[in-house]
Symmetry: C2
């Protein structure tokens, strides 16, 4: 039974008819992401199809002081979608049009609900691609809102570098446009970057203008094996420091390889691996492959396996993308809990060593993977969500990893966002700058209706 006021319910029903639902099943689906965080269901779900509709819903919520939480593909890992104070889940998945592609400017504009896979399908025939790739088939709006990145960030940057402009609905319902199509601008405060990573707490992103890239002339993928994660990290660090422009450089420990083999039906040798992708002209790819080969061999790596056909490449990266699900599926009924620290590259070896040390006594199945070119790695735990002791243990281990990362100048979250999962660490990482974040939140959303209780609180 909904607690929403009658006038509010009537207004939504009149405007959205069957695109407004208070059915429990629909609400349950919208009250959580894909991780261990316990869901809280919203009071209603609206499926918006335009910026104007988003503006209508937010304006109505503002008038009634009702929370509103943007929902894209539901792949959040830090509890962003949890309706802590109830309210409306505003589902943008039907805003799925690519509204403009400009091959000559290498940019495009999409509605927030377009997923990264749908966008890349759309672009392929034009020889273009959008590189940011968090693994999950997230929505572009959600990726912008959490400042997502993933396997290609070492070469192409994150959503921070690749969003040119946004259409945003403010907490009043007002629609603004930030940024523009010029590659650079000094025209005032960088509102685009303020909304990128704001997790739906300052405004709701409804359209995104993105940088695109030409599909490289030559793409090459290789796996190599190490006896030890430490050797693999040593090689990865040396490659970054040499400035070799690898397009992807992913660490997968042997635990992960086992899980991936089972989940994706592969038969990779079970050892610690680095996976590389190279983009460029045939000449430059050859040069980079040679350089990386030398570094890997020096560090004790071996068994370069090349995935040359597009099918083999896709199979490998699909398996990597499913790593989170692969680890979780090892244990029936388990939920995934992923750590997400990111540190200066010179500290990565120490931090991964530290993570392996503290994992030694841990009974919860876990695997290590990482976008090691960026200094970002994850420990994915398959936790029993009903076992309080287990949850407490993983929380304790996660906390240790975060402390370690922050102590060396790193961050509690490289790409998953704060949500409710990392709020406890923000002050440790940013000190009193957190007060400025709260001040900005209060200035922009004084009623606290946008995704309340996330990032800087106001639950």
């Amino acid at each position: 039974m909904s607690v929403l006021p009658a006038a509010f319910l009537d207004a939504l029903s009149a405007r959205f008819t069957d695109r407004f639902s208070t059915a429990v099943a629909v609400r349950e689906q919208h009250g959580h992401g894909e991780s261990h965080h316990t869901g809280v269901i919203p009071d209603g779900v609206v499926y918006a199809e335009s910026t104007e509709e988003v503006s209508f819903v937010v304006g109505l919520c503002a008038a009634h002081d009702i929370p509103v939480i943007a929902y894209g593909a539901g792949t959040s890992l830090e509890g962003h979608l949890i309706a802590l104070r109830g309210g409306i889940s505003l589902d943008l998945s039907r805003m799925n049009r690519v509204t403009r592609v400009s091959p000559s400017d290498l940019d495009c504009t999409v509605q927030a609900g377009v997923t990264r896979e749908a966008l890349n399908s759309h672009l392929r025939d034009q020889g273009l691609f959008f590189p940011i790739d968090p693994g999950a088939n997230a929505s572009i709006g959600g990726m912008a809102a959490t400042r997502a990145s993933g396997t290609n960030a070492v070469r192409y940057g994150t959503m921070r570098e690749n969003v040119l402009a946004l259409t945003v609905v403010l907490p009043t319902g007002q629609v603004i446009h930030t940024g523009g199509r010029a590659r650079k601008s000094s025209a005032g405060y960088d509102l685009t970057r303020l909304f990128v990573g704001s997790e739906g707490t300052l405004g709701i992103i409804t359209e995104v203008t993105l940088r695109l890239y030409g599909i490289p002339e030559s793409i090459s993928v290789a796996l190599c094996s190490f006896d030890d994660v430490g050797q693999a990290v040593e090689a990865a660090t040396a490659i970054v420091q040499l400035g070799v422009p690898v397009a992807r450089m992913e660490l997968m420990d042997r635990g992960l390889i086992s899980a991936v083999n089972r989940y994706s039906g592969l038969d990779l040798t079970v050892d610690d691996k680095l996976a590389f992708e190279f983009h460029g002209s045939p000449g430059s790819v050859e040069e980079h492959v040679r350089l990386v080969g030398e570094v890997v061999t020096d560090a004790g790596g071996r068994n370069f396996e090349w995935a040359t056909s597009p099918e083999d490449r896709n199979r490998l990266w699909k398996a990597r993308h499913n790593a989170f699900y692969a680890v979780v599926s090892q244990r029936p009924g388990a939920k995934g809990w992923s750590s997400d620290v990111c540190v200066p590259v010179s500290e990565l070896g120490n931090c991964i060593l530290h993570a392996r040390e503290i994992l030694k006594g841990c009974q919860v199945p876990a695997a290590i993977l990482g976008h090691v070119g960026d200094g970002n790695f994850h420990v994915v735990f398959a936790v029993d969500p009903g076992n309080a002791e287990e949850l407490a243990e993983v929380a304790r281990l996660n906390k240790k990893m975060v402390h370690k990362a922050i102590s060396v100048g790193g961050t509690c979250t490289g790409e998953h966002g704060v949500g409710i999962g990392k709020m406890a660490y923000l002050r440790e990482e940013h000190g009193d700058a957190v007060d400025l974040m709260a001040l900005l939140k209060h200035a922009v959303d004084p009623k606290g209706i946008l995704n309340p209780g996330k990032i800087v609180g106001q639950a």
Copy 2:
């Protein structure tokens, strides 16, 4: 005679002794940048030597409601330094220490007053460089505050992409640290990007952590000639669209070449030119040179002249960096007025054609130059600052160029900032998003003491 209250004067004198000055000559030096904008002198100048001293000054200014304007190298082009409401010019040029360089992480931390040339001198022995290069020997703090870029941005990005972290003094005097040393983070609002480009209106940047790059193994520089600016732009656009990773690609029209020859003692053939720089391994540089050569020839370019020795390269880029001064020096007593639009690359040819059309009847000496790989170009006028008619004519031409740029999705300022010179265009470019900028300004600096009258007003 200063209008500053006695208690305020006493507090500054006691703390800073001879590093606080109300001498007219010192104040006059601090009330303007390098362009045509009429200066207004501050009431006093403080030379700060630490973040703690900046905090003291800002706190004192806050207590007395006195404006405070950060001053770096004084190379601003849009009136950022003009003391519209008097107050204190806070000179940070003595905060000139490089506090940390980490070759293994390719980053460093510098005090705000370090200039880009001083930084690169400091880094050279370690095989590193900082690429952002606005021409003038600006301070890193000033470059961050105006979101500067310059000739290398086509390859390395702007200050937006290359600042990792900041130390900022807020309008209360409070010191905060934004960002961190990890290459990426999703930990809360992107305060770093909020301060980058905020032109001293939200906080005073006192320390900057920057990304660095290894000095490329191979560097190659070439000039080529065209009969027409249109051909040069066509070639430049094609090179961007092909995705050739040139490190620099600069347009210089024949008027500029004449001026540069005279000012820098060169004997370049007087025609429209593109200047290129290539960075990489010998193999990749060779490949890029070949590709660019093909495109240039197709577009009607000719006479590739190579600058192979470091001395020749430096002479060429020094001449390019002095282009602004070269144009201005053609006319005794003149001041420089530089337009700064930036547009999607596919619109660049049209916009430059438009600029040339409207320049046809103009009697004020002018030259066109541009960071054409980014879609950014400047028309530099040498104006007589005492001639109101001339100033009005240039203002009118500039306005037309801005209208044109904004109409094709571009920006009124690619890299110089808003200051007072571009305030009139912000609403045309950003619409109601300007109200959000003003709201943020008011929230962070409710008394309006930080660089009042810039970006969003509150003069």
